[in-house]
Subunit: 483 residues, 2 copies
Amino acid sequence: MSRLLDGEPTVVTAGVALFEEALAAQAVPVVPVDWRPPLDAPGSPPVEDALARVLADPRRRDANATAVSRMLAAGARLVDVRPAGEALGLEPGTFLHAGPPINWERASGPMRGALRGAMVFEGLAASPEEAERLLAAGAVRLEPCHHRSAVGPMAGVVSPSMWVFELEDPANGGRAWCSLNEGLGKVLRYGAYGPEVIERLRWMSAVLGPLLRHAVAATRDAGGVDVKAIVAQMLQMGDEGHNRNRAGTLMLLRELLPTMIDSPFPQADVARAVAFVAGNDHFFLNLGMPACKLATDAARDVPGSTVVVAMARNGTDFGIQVSGTGDRWFTGPANTPEGLFLGDYGPDDANPDIGDSAITETAGIGGFAMAAAPAIVRFVGGDVPFALATTRRMYEITVAENPAFAVPVLEFRGTPTGIDVTAVVRTGILPQINTGMAGRVAGTGQVGAGLVTPPESVFPAAVEALAELAPPLAEPAPPAAGI
Amino acid sequence: MSRLLDGEPTVVTAGVALFEEALAAQAVPVVPVDWRPPLDAPGSPPVEDALARVLADPRRRDANATAVSRMLAAGARLVDVRPAGEALGLEPGTFLHAGPPINWERASGPMRGALRGAMVFEGLAASPEEAERLLAAGAVRLEPCHHRSAVGPMAGVVSPSMWVFELEDPANGGRAWCSLNEGLGKVLRYGAYGPEVIERLRWMSAVLGPLLRHAVAATRDAGGVDVKAIVAQMLQMGDEGHNRNRAGTLMLLRELLPTMIDSPFPQADVARAVAFVAGNDHFFLNLGMPACKLATDAARDVPGSTVVVAMARNGTDFGIQVSGTGDRWFTGPANTPEGLFLGDYGPDDANPDIGDSAITETAGIGGFAMAAAPAIVRFVGGDVPFALATTRRMYEITVAENPAFAVPVLEFRGTPTGIDVTAVVRTGILPQINTGMAGRVAGTGQVGAGLVTPPESVFPAAVEALAELAPPLAEPAPPAAGI
């Protein structure tokens, strides 16, 4: 002890800057450490005790290894394209939506807009106004996509007559579904519901869906289209799989083209379908998302695992689900993305965060793979060093690297995969999500694209729930004699 | 002067390490500078005098600015696909080849193999053996592609019945041509000439060429296919435009698909053509090359300019042409690439550097844009830091950056463009070329892909020629009085 006091002290500071600044003002050398207190759920007791209990859970390490190894092993094959009613057993009068559960009263503008459009599309209402009255009266049952092994970008509204991609995970045996991508601008998923939106959806169900089904059927003997392989390739081609899907879309087109051309469908229909897919750089997103859903679903329900298996937003709430806590949602108010706006739109036009597409980040691509897609900063904001730093930062809150998803510029390091809620709470580092921005007002459509994070509160809430399920802490051992 | 000797000396060393090491052994601090003497042409007088004269040429600065501004302004539109005989005025019995001029006697294995195949393909010989006898007897006139505003990858053999892409530069008015890409493996351009090679070439002339012509014709009202725009996009999608052309090929396919599908050709032909293009990641190379040829040709013949306008190899010699020295070739023995080999092939199987594809590096893509394509190191060798460092190093020997070809990971810096022979000679930094490797033995085909540089000697030779054309050096001014 005396030696400690003999020499000049070396002062290390952490947390609030007050102490560091006071010493620096007195010319005392200080080594500041970048440390933040654990995240706390507002209005709840501090999370430290729960965190300690979860970290001490003897099941945690193996449980996370099991969860993430299933996530990494998951495959994703496109095996069919068919109507949602048939594929998902979706009854007439039931609509799926993005994010955790929500009702009409709490639904945001774009969610309400998409629901109105779906009512008209299904012939349940003659006009958006009638649709609104019926929806307000509870004429339709709303259910999260996630509750039916499905995912939907933005509003994520799926009604029985819409067609969906059907993907299969040969490794774990799961299935997942996602709607077909409509393109950008005034589209249902961004809350638009005008006549051109409805007409496009009708064409997608009447022509595009059946044609894609024909093309996919021809690949079924070979096990379907290998969507996971396309995701792996696109990360080498400047896509991150959430807001950049250019290479992915082109590769999908390449896979399906030969059998689309060689089909009994009228040549004009084939030409329009090919032009529709080729003209929409985001078409592949609706295949990447269910591929990620397969991977994250494979990691569900491992007792003691602290790995996140879903992040999803309904435009009002942001929710996460965790492997060790089953189907329970931990929700908080959705943040509003910051980024770049289309045309004359600005921050006031943006709705809070919406969509199931954060399943990409949950599975380790999207914002987590930004280093693979530096050009995306021209679309979502930020700069190239930020894109590289983001992927590097995400390694601090994840339990694994995905060897199948190598990032060339990081010397082929695998993408950071498997968000650990305890790491998020401990470090205060929030998962980075790239996202589109929907107009706040129903009917607007897309207003921009940007960057967003979950609300902090959902992670401590998950830790509290995990703590309740963890075995009690062992009594601390008595101090050893002589110390 | 006295002050210089008062204090401790700071020793700066350059060149050979002997001086630095001797001082370091005596514990004298040394600042070593990475400097090499200028490149010299073996057997020629030192290049210093010529270099000084060229650097002092008062025309040089403006001439290089003119040359490179034309290079950067050049556009590239695919406007037609037609037989080489018609497009290039190629007379029966005249064959084009890659690189600087060469005759049968000095031709390498892959060049001889490709010439044999072309003889059989044209019906000028019934067998490869007969072809060889006729070629040795001088039955065919050989001419470099470059002499007809054309470029050909690897052996680059173009005979009158082969179909070529025709590109136009709307900015400078030039035209350039290139053969259609046959795919990888056993193909004519790598020196293979078996029956499957000839059959493929026949199908390309009978079906693929006419079908592509039909598809391109439909784009002509819109000015043709914008090949330069595709090059710009591919650099954001992990391609460097020489040995990676995946995204470029997919984007070309997307452009041409609608009119290929909607054509009077039999559906089976369309399906085979689409599958052929879609199944060959290098198909776009033969469009990127003539796009680069248009850019570099635009920079030709500016008196006093030291900018390289062609780098090309015939499998025996490596040649460069420089803006200020007209059509003169400066040649030296081609180096053999180092890289990665297919199957059981090894370094002993590789032919020296061959092909006009180094036109890509001449125009600032390919090896110069490796930072845009870090995944390419898995194909040509090297590692990711090498890929990034290579692009950065090329800025030291080029006079401009191409704002149209932005490299995202370098924060959208334009690719290094316009190789200055004086900078190469001064720094000793050689242009980096990515390349395929042909089998040394005629008939083998591709054996690998790798990295190569030009022989050093061609750059001092060009500087000597530029010096002969430069105005005489002014007499040194008499020393000012008092010094």
